[in-house]
C-alpha cells in the first residue's frame, strides 16, 4: 500500500500529535470519564459488586450541609484572594517599573514568596500566626493590642488563610504585569506628554487597556489557584476549626483519602468540573471579545 504525498503529510501530522494526545487521554480525559462513572455508582461493601444509583450521590451531596459550607468558604476565598492579589500585583509592578533606587532588590523581594515551596511557606506562616509566640501577635502586643488566635478562631481563620495566599500570589502576578508594562512602546508616553495628558488619565486610557490581555491571563490563573488550593490547608488548619477553612479540593482529598469514600470524592469533583466549565465558557464568549490584543 502506498500513500499519496498528502496522505503522508497527514500521517506525519497525526504522529506529531500522538504524544500529546496520549498524555491528554491518559491524564485528563480518561480520569474525567472514570470520575463521572464513579459518581454514579455506590461501591460494593465487602466484596459485593458496585451498584448503579444514578444521580442519588448528587442528591446526597446537595443535602450535605458541610458541602455547602465548604463551597461557601471557597467562594469567599476566591473573592478574598483574586481582586486583592491582582490589584496588589499591578500596584507593585507599576512601582518597580519606575525609577527607584535598589529596583532590582525590590523586584526580587516581591518575587521571593513565589519561589518558596508552598509547604515551607505555610510552615513559616504557621509560626507567624501562632497566638502566644507568633510574629503578628508579638507586634500587636508591642502596640498595645491584645493578640488574635489567627488560625484557631473560626471567625478569622479563613481570613488568615486568604492573607497568606495573597502574599504568595501577588509577587507571581507582578512578574507578568512587569513584563507587559515593559513591552508598552515608550512613544505612547512621549506622545501623551506632548499632548499634556495627566498621569491618571494616561493610566486609565492607555496603560490599563494595553494590560488587559495580561489581566485576563492573571485572572484565569488566580481563579484556577483558588480552586486548587490544598497544600496550605494541610499545614495551617487541616480545614478546621470545625470546617471553618475547609475548601473544595481539600474536601475532595479528605473524602478520598481520609474517609476512603471515593464515590463522594468523585461526585464533588464532577460538580467542580461543571462549575469550571461554565466559567471557561463565559471567558471565551464574553471576556475574550472585550479584550484588546496587540
Amino acid at each position: 500500500m502506498t500513500l499519496t504525498a498528502h496522505g503522508k503529510m497527514q500521517l506525519y501530522g497525526a504522529l506529531l500529535l500522538l504524544p500529546a494526545a496520549v498524555l491528554l487521554a491518559a491524564f485528563a480525559y480518561l480520569p474525567t470519564i472514570m470520575t463521572v462513572i464513579n459518581s454514579l455508582f455506590l461501591p460494593g461493601f465487602r466484596g459485593e459488586p458496585a451498584e448503579f444509583v444514578g444521580v442519588e450521590n448528587y442528591q446526597v451531596l446537595f443535602d450535605d450541609p458541610t458541602f455547602w459550607q465548604v463551597a461557601r468558604n471557597n467562594l469567599l476565598y476566591a473573592l478574598g484572594t483574586i481582586p486583592t492579589s491582582i490589584a496588589l500585583a499591578l500596584g507593585m509592578a507599576l512601582f518597580v517599573n519606575g525609577k527607584l533606587p535598589g529596583r532590582g532588590f525590590v523586584r526580587m523581594a516581591y518575587f521571593t514568596p513565589t519561589i518558596l515551596p508552598m509547604i515551607a511557606a505555610a510552615n513559616i506562616w504557621m509560626f507567624f500566626y501562632a497566638p502566644q509566640i507568633g510574629l503578628f501577635n508579638s507586634l500587636l502586643e508591642t502596640l498595645g493590642f491584645s493578640g488574635v488566635n489567627w488560625l484557631g478562631d473560626p471567625s478569622v481563620a479563613l481570613g488568615s488563610v486568604i492573607i497568606m495566599s495573597v502574599w504568595k500570589e501577588a509577587g507571581f502576578f507582578m512578574i507578568f504585569y512587569l513584563a507587559a508594562l515593559q513591552s508598552i512602546p515608550p512613544e505612547l508616553k512621549e506622545a501623551s506628554d506632548l499632548e499634556g495628558t495627566g498621569r491618571w488619565s494616561f493610566f486609565w486610557r492607555v496603560t490599563f487597556p494595553l494590560l488587559m490581555p495580561t489581566t485576563l491571563f492573571v485572572l484565569i490563573n488566580s481563579l484556577i489557584n483558588a480552586v486548587r488550593v490544598v497544600d496550605h490547608l494541610f499545614i495551617l488548619t487541616k480545614g478546621g476549626p470545625n470546617n471553618a477553612t475547609n475548601l473544595l479540593l481539600y474536601y475532595v482529598y479528605e473524602n478520598a483519602f481520609s474517609f476512603f469514600d471515593r464515590t463522594t470524592a468523585a461526585t464533588i469533583t464532577v460538580v467542580i468540573l461543571l462549575v469550571l466549565a461554565v466559567v471557561a465558557t463565559l471567558k471565551f464568549t464574553i471576556l475574550d471579545r472585550r479584550t484588546h490584543y496587540q
Binding site: 461493601f45 465487602r46 466484596g47 504557621m126 509560626f127 501562632a130 497566638p131 502566644q132 509566640i133 507568633g134 488566635n149 488560625l151 484557631g152 478562631d153 473560626p154 499545614i235 488548619t237 487541616k238 478546621g240 476549626p241 470545625n242 470546617n243 479528605e254 483519602f257 481520609s258 474517609f259 476512603f260 469514600d261
Partner: protein
Amino acid sequence: MRARIPFALFALSALTAGLLSAGQAAANDPVELTMYYPVAVGGALTDVVDDLVDEFESEHPDIDVEAIYAGNYDDTRVRAMSAMEAGDTPQLSVMFSIDLYELLEQDAIVAFDDLVESDEEREWLDSFYPGLMENGQLDGKTYGIPFQRSTIVLFWNKDAFEAAGLDPETPPENWEQMAEMAATVREASDGEQWGVMVPSTGYPYWMFQAFAFQNGHRLMSEDGTEVYFDDPAAIEALEYWVSLATEHDAMPDDTIEWGTLRQNFIEESTAMMWHTTGNLSAVRSEADFDFGVAMLPMKAQRGSPTGGGNFYIFKDAPEKEQRAAMTFIRWMTAPERAAAWSIETGYMGVSPAAYETEALRDYIADFAPAAVARDQLEHSTAELSTYQGGRVRRALDNAVQAALTGQMTAEEALSQAQQEAEGVLRRYAR
C-alpha cells in the same frame, strides 16, 4: 524519518536488557522490601530510622529494605494505599495503629498469626505490652505490631510552678487541682503566661478521649461498630475542657495548634501542656528550664488513650517477601532496638523486655520522665478506632472544636457528632 529507527531499536534493546536483569535479580539477589513510615513529632527521626535499616541490612545481607519517609500518618496511609492501587504494593509499612479497620476493609493486610511458624515467633508475638496490642487486634488475630507508640503525658514547667508559689515537684493529681494550679500560674504571671494548653488541632479526638476516659467513659465499642459520644460522662468531660478557658481563665480561647504547642512550652508561654510522649527527647534537648513529666490528672480514674504507629504487612506481597518483612519487623522491635528507639525519641519501649535492657534502665535511672509513659500504660485505653474511622474521628474533631470555640455547647456539639457517626456506622452495626 529513518533516523528514528535506531532510536526505536535502542529503546527496545534497553527494555529487553532491563527485563533480563530483573529476571536475574529474582534469581540470586536479596529480597527487596519497601516500607513507608511517618514522623509525627519534631526531630531528625529519619536519620535514626536510616541508621537502624543500615544496621539491619549488614546483619541480613539477604534482605534489602528501602525505608521511605512519607509525611504524617495520613500521608503515609495515602502513599501506601495509592501504591497498592497502582499495583506496586509495599511489603510493609508503619501506619496509624487505628488504621486497622480501614485496612481490613480494603483487604490490604495479613494477620501475623498466619505468618508465624515457629514457637519462637509465636513468643515474639506475645512479647508486647497488651495495652499496645489492643488497637492492632481484631477477632483474636494480630494485624499490627507496635513500633512508635505513645500515650499522652503532662509536661510541666517546674520553674513556673515555683515562681507562682506552687510546689515545683508536685504536678496536679486530678482535674480540680489542674484547673487551680493553672489559674494560679496565670494570675501570678499577671497574664503573661498561660496555665495549661491542650492541643485541639491535629488530633482533637485523641485529647478528648483522654478526658472522657478519665471520667470513666469509653467512647466506642470493642468491635468498632458503635460510638458513645453524647453520654453524660463524655459531655461532662468536654465541659471541663472548655471550662479551663472560659471559667478558670487558665487556657487560651479557641483552638490550640498541635504543631506549635511544643514551641509554646519551650518558650514558657504555658506552664503545662498535654502532648504525646514522642516529644520527650526534643523537649529535653530544647528546654532551658527545669521540667517534669507526669501522668495525666484523674477524675474518676487515671487514663490516656495509647497512640502512634504500628507495623503492618501487606497481603499482596508474595509469601517469601512477607516472611522477610516479618524478619525485619522482629529485628526492629527486639528489646535492644526498642530501647534505643525510645531513648532517641521518647516513644515507649514497646515490650517489658525493652525496659529490662541495660541501656533503657540506665537511661531511666538518669532521667526519670522516660518511664512515665510506660507507667501510665496500665491506665490506658485503646485509641478511638471504628469502621469508617476517618469520618467518625472528623465528626468528633469538629464537635470538640465547635465547643472550644464557643460555637456550640458541649452537649449540642457531641449529640451532633453522635448523630453523624451513627449515620455513617449504620451498616456496620448489624
